[in-house]
């Protein structure tokens, strides 16, 4: 009550502080969106797969791209788990448009058309619906290269032609946009490059179900989270950026704390008066925490709205990705640290000696 009255009375001053705080949280949220977006550019393709586990070869050490499991492992695995299975191959290559020499980076994700690994298209039709010989689903970044549904694109090393069946959204691996092709097409590709090619998979995805009893020689079950952690460079990059974001959160919350501390120093006399007339530290702490909470929560909410509004207006190519959950975590951390940093103000108030109010003339 007192907390609110004072904020209201000092509207101008506190609105300015609020503005500053809002901008700070906005900056933090925006950066964490960019950080997450950059991270997504590395692992979104894996993260989007609707699978809980993957079977990788032992020697791969959880790195999906160097794993290989033989085709007959598929049968073994299906007898050991009740989960739905789907094979997956991942191959980095180059793509060319017809009559154009420019090579475009692409990562092929080869899947069984119609399996649970196939993403939803945002334009065009799915792999299984397409009647082309070698259909491909491209990440929507390729749209920006002027590629359209129905176009023919070439694999640059084999000149095998794909027909663009449709586009999918937000599918990247290792900063490279993904193209989904069928395992059949993939086998053609590999056979073209190496006539001795024996069918094998990089991994077998398991949608869900019980995997406790799986025992396959030279292979092991790895969770999706572990695979993401082990995508080369992901953890290092992600950790660096995440750390920057957290440092910013702490710094901005500390700024609230310091601002508030300065205000507290100016109000020592008022706190002295309240103590003299018998207002206990409990209530005084309540005022401080109440005010800091109001400032921090308002700032966080406004900044959150701003960030999501801004995200909606951002161009597609900006790697911005922010889940509500993550944004809430950032805001909650911010509010929490603000409250912790307001403890120095409370400590300062607890040191105010109410005697100074008696017999004093200065005001």
């Amino acid at each position: 009550m007192l907390a609110w009255k004072e904020l209201f009375y000092g509207k101008k001053k506190y609105l300015l502080i609020e503005l500053l705080i809002t901008l700070l949280i906005f900056m933090v949220l925006f950066l964490s969106g960019l950080a997450e977006g950059l991270g997504r550019a590395v692992v979104a393709g894996i993260d989007n797969l609707d699978a809980a586990y993957f079977l990788l070869s032992d020697s791969a050490e959880d790195i999906i791209t160097v794993s290989n499991v033989s085709a007959d492992t598929y049968g073994q695995l299906s007898s050991q788990t009740d989960g739905e299975l789907a094979a997956l191959d991942i191959q980095r290559m180059y793509l060319c448009r017809q009559n154009d020499d420019e090579k475009l980076n692409i990562v092929y994700f080869a899947i069984e058309p119609g399996s649970f690994l196939e993403p939803k298209t945002i334009e065009g039709v799915s792999l299984s619906e397409s009647d082309a010989e070698n259909p491909i689903l491209l990440d929507d970044d390729f749209m920006l290269e002027g590629i359209k549904v129905g176009d023919t694109v070439l694999d640059s090393s084999t000149d095998i032609a794909f027909t663009v069946a449709g586009f999918v959204k937000d599918e990247m691996y290792g900063h490279v946009s993904i193209g989904f092709i069928s395992i059949d097409t993939y086998t053609k590709l590999r056979t073209e490059l190496n006539p001795m090619y024996q069918q094998e998979y990089h991994a077998i995805a398991i949608k869900d179900g019980n995997v406790d009893g799986v025992q396959i020689e030279d292979a092991q079950i790895v969770s999706k989270a572990d695979i993401i952690q082990n995508v080369p460079s992901y953890t290092a990059e992600h950790m660096t950026i995440t750390m920057i974001v957290w440092v910013l959160i702490i710094v901005s919350a500390a700024i609230i704390g310091i601002f508030y501390y300065i205000l507290t120093l100016q109000k020592r006399r008022q706190f002295g008066v309240m103590k003299a007339i018998g207002v206990g530290m409990g209530r005084l702490s309540g005022i401080v925490i109440g005010q800091v909470c109001i400032i921090a929560v308002c700032g966080a909410v406004i900044a959150g709205l701003l960030t999501f509004g801004m995200a909606a207006a951002l161009p597609e190519t900006m790697p911005f990705y922010l889940k509500i959950g993550n944004a809430l975590l950032v805001m909650a951390a911010f509010i929490f640290i603000s409250i912790v940093s307001s403890l120095i103000s409370i400590w300062n108030i607890s040191k105010v000696d109410p005697i100074t109010v008696i017999g004093g003339t200065d005001e």
Binding site: M1, L2, Y9, Q270, A276, G278, V279, I355, G359
Partner: protein
């Protein structure tokens, strides 16, 4: 005769003063009854404020006892002092010391315990003290006398046993100062409080029931009255 509410016995207090000791209060005793306004005068630096802060449970004496309504509060631990002040003591300061961000009535109601609402009615006090128009004003919109009257009302709001005022008229001119002391006297009589007022203002001494002079560490009653 009303009973003794505030009892100060053999209060001694000295401050560390460079190399030596500065004995400010030397075995001072004072009893104040309900409905009684006691004034304390004395030269500057004689220890009047010190005496009041000791009576007000803001400072501990070197020796002596303080009893409020039969309860020997000087024995209680320092961490309980805020509660004792809250329950037993109302302060009126030299300058009003109102909170700038509260309107007149809020200065009282936000500090009043629920249980005291029936005993002391805040709007009624505004009427009694003739400051009804200040109920919805911020202190910056009031005159000095009005602010000091709200400060008086605030001192009574939690129905304390004793009222302590340190130079309540210092920031006011003669006529306004007298009015303010009249208000204190009015409320003290009406509510049967024991009040101690330190003042430099000789013109208001006739409003006090007893006048004491504090000098050289000793408290002596003025005989003129």
């Amino acid at each position: 005769m009303s009973k003794t509410i505030l009892k100060l016995e053999h209060i001694t207090k000295s401050y560390q003063d460079g190399s030596g000791k500065n004995l400010v209060l030397n075995d001072v005793s004072l009893d104040v009854n309900g409905g009684e306004l006691v004034a304390i005068v004395g030269p500057s630096g004689s220890g009047k404020s010190t005496f009041l802060t000791i009576a007000g449970m803001l400072l501990s004496p070197d020796a002596g006892a303080i009893t409020i309504n039969g309860e020997r509060v000087s024995d209680s631990k320092k961490k309980n002092w805020t509660k004792i002040r809250h329950e037993h003591i109302g302060f009126i300061f030299q300058s009003h010391q109102l909170l700038p961000y509260l309107k007149g009535l809020e200065q009282l109601t936000l500090f009043q315990d629920k249980k005291n609402r029936d005993k002391v009615n805040a709007p009624d006090m505004f009427t009694e003290l003739g400051i009804e128009k200040c109920k919805n004003q911020y202190p910056s919109e009031m005159s000095g006398g009005e602010k000091q009257r709200i400060a008086i009302a605030r001192a009574f709001i939690n129905d304390p046993d004793i009222i302590l005022a340190d130079e309540p008229t210092a920031s006011l001119d003669g006529a306004r100062g007298r009015q303010v002391v009249e208000m204190i006297r009015l409320e003290v009589k009406k509510r049967e409080k024991a009040a101690v007022m330190v003042t430099h203002d000789e013109r208001v001494l006739d409003l006090a029931d007893r006048v004491y002079r504090l000098e050289n560490g000793a408290l002596t009653q003025n005989n003129e009255k």
